[in-house]
């Protein structure tokens, strides 16, 4: 495999983890989060510091996961106070605050970020394998949750929390669980990213990234694990495959997001289902 291919697969793997984890929060549980980049970033910075401090890969990954979920649970509490679009606004705010604060802290590298982070010792292809394994595990976890009673309760909370409560569902606990799990995975992705690049700046985790991740979730089909996986892979490959798309990346992403919501709100997963139903009719 060429260095380029290894690098590409690594990025795809990370994006899959990010998109699938966002889908757990916003798709399964209906809690719109437009600030997923903040948890990703928290994980990346935690891993960076841990690697510089201890040089231990496991410690770094665990720190990353914890950092992501700690910030995530805090935001989860916010979801108990505000709903839908105001929750979205709050998450945007969290994303901006995170970047705004990190940029000002000298010990986090300030505007220059953190560079020269020790590698994982696995080499580029070793990293790629690690990333892909975690991506596969994330997909498996997402599929499992979707099939479990937890996923069932998530769907109820996402659709109508007041009615969910009348079925005895502790809405607050489930929201926190969704945020906790989804953001932990985002933090993990951040740690993996740190090993991949060995150099991080706050800009990599900004609002634009969060919007792109949400685009992947919406386009793939909010709530559908496989739909989101396909969208994540596709939208990561698209700018690579088509030069035009790379130069006009935000235009394309924004445009797709608008088009999909406007014309096919269920995303490609819903379209696929409709096609499947139509094709199965005699």
């Amino acid at each position: 495999m060429s260095a380029y291919e290894i690098s590409l697969l690594s990025v795809i793997g990370i994006n899959v983890i990010l998109a699938v984890s966002l889908n757990m929060i916003s798709g399964f549980c209906g809690q719109i989060s437009l600030g997923h980049g903040a948890f990703y970033g928290a994980g990346a910075y935690a891993a960076a510091l841990a690697m510089i401090g201890t040089g231990n890969v496991l410690v770094a990954l665990i720190s990353a996961t914890l950092a992501g979920s700690l910030l995530g649970i805090v935001v989860g509490f916010a979801s108990l106070r505000v709903r839908t679009d105001f929750l979205a606004v709050t998450t945007i705010g969290v994303n901006f605050l995170f970047i705004g604060m990190v940029r000002k802290q000298g010990w986090l590298g300030g505007e220059m970020g953190i560079s020269g982070i020790p590698g994982s010792g696995l080499g580029a292809d070793g990293n790629m394998v690690m990333i892909l394994l975690f991506a596969a595990a994330t997909i498996a976890l997402s599929l499992y949750i979707g099939r479990s009673w937890m996923g069932f309760a998530f769907r109820a909370v996402g659709e109508d929390e007041d009615t969910a409560a009348t079925l005895g569902i502790n809405v607050a606990a489930y929201k926190l669980a969704a945020f906790g799990i989804g953001t932990a995975l985002a933090g993990l992705a951040g740690g993996l990213y740190t090993f991949f690049t060995q150099f991080i700046t706050a800009d990599a985790f900004d609002f634009i990234l969060s919007v792109m991740l949400m685009a992947m979730v919406v386009i793939g089909g909010i709530g559908s694990t496989w739909g989101v996986v396909v969208a994540a892979i596709g939208l990561t490959l698209l700018p690579e495959a088509i030069r035009f798309v790379n130069d006009y990346r935000l235009l394309v992403f924004g445009g797709l997001l608008v088009l999909v919501i406007r014309l096919a709100p269920g995303g490609f997963a819903a379209l696929a289902r409709t096609v499947a139903i139509r094709m199965s009719r005699p």
Binding site: R147, W149, F152, A153, A165, T166, G168, I169, N170, Y174
Partner: protein, 255 residues
């Protein structure tokens, strides 16, 4: 015998208005109670307090001996309370069956951790199918809940309430929006539920049906209980009569 539902001096005020002003009553296991009163009497507010949606300023509420005054709706449901709403709210994007299966799975959904560890739905699916048959919805299992006509949606609400194995069912205007035939059928369903030993408390404007089915009426006016007893007795009470006629309520009273 402990009352299955007990209200003790419950009161709440909004701004300057005492919507509920010191309501006390208890409901015994197996009772079939109709909570009635003219518009603005405080019935809906009282129901919302019992449901846990509103917090009273004063008083205590107990379910089968447990004081639930400070507990959330979900917690009260786990202690034996079931609710149906005046404005039906099924999970529209889920199938009729799934709506009831989720309710039936209340043991599994008690905490996210428990829920994460269980995936099997067979038992609950069977139970849900039975309950749907009981309320006369057999055959609609695969339909999207949002696509049902109103009458069937109201029965789905009852089915969901049954599925949580309640001790007491609180029904808020279960007959609203139904024509005479549908209302009669709905009452039959509810009466059958009560016949199985589940306590029923319903809030209703449709006095005809209420008189026919309930074994006890509690009348509210201006946030206070002004009548409590057998339907005939209560409705011939001049105080109750005044409350209705005086405010020009739309319901007609049979004497």
């Amino acid at each position: 015998m402990t009352a299955v539902l007990q209200l003790d001096d419950v009161a709440i005020r909004f701004g300057g208005v005492r919507a509920v002003d010191g309501v006390t009553f208890f409901v015994d296991s197996g009772d079939f109670v109709g909570l009635i009163g003219p518009n603005g009497a405080g019935k809906t507010t009282l129901i919302r307090i019992v449901a846990g949606v509103l917090r009273a300023n004063r008083g205590r509420i107990a379910l089968a001996g447990h004081d639930v005054t400070d507990e959330s709706t979900a917690s009260r449901v786990r202690k034996g309370l079931a609710l149906t709403h005046q404005v039906v709210r099924p999970f529209r994007e889920m199938s009729v069956l799934d709506n009831v299966v989720l309710a039936a799975g209340y043991r599994h959904t008690s905490s996210p951790l428990r829920a994460a560890l269980h995936t099997d739905r067979r038992h609950e699916s069977e139970r849900a199918a039975e309950i749907l048959a009981q309320v006369g919805l057999a055959g609609t299992e695969r339909k999207l809940a949002g696509a049902l006509p109103l009458g069937q949606m109201k029965r789905l609400e009852v089915a969901r309430a049954l599925a949580v194995d309640p001790r007491v069912m609180l029904l808020d205007e279960p007959l609203a929006g139904l024509n005479q035939a549908e209302a009669a059928k709905q009452v039959e369903t509810i009466a059958a539920v009560n016949a199985r030993g589940i306590t029923v408390v319903l809030v209703e404007h449709n006095l005809e049906e209420v008189m026919r089915s309930c074994r006890r009426l509690i009348v509210l006016n201006n946030g206070r209980v002004i009548g409590d007893g057998a339907p005939r007795t209560v409705m011939s009470d001049p105080v109750v009569h005044d409350a209705y006629v005086g405010t020009g309520a739309s319901a007609h009273v049979e004497n």
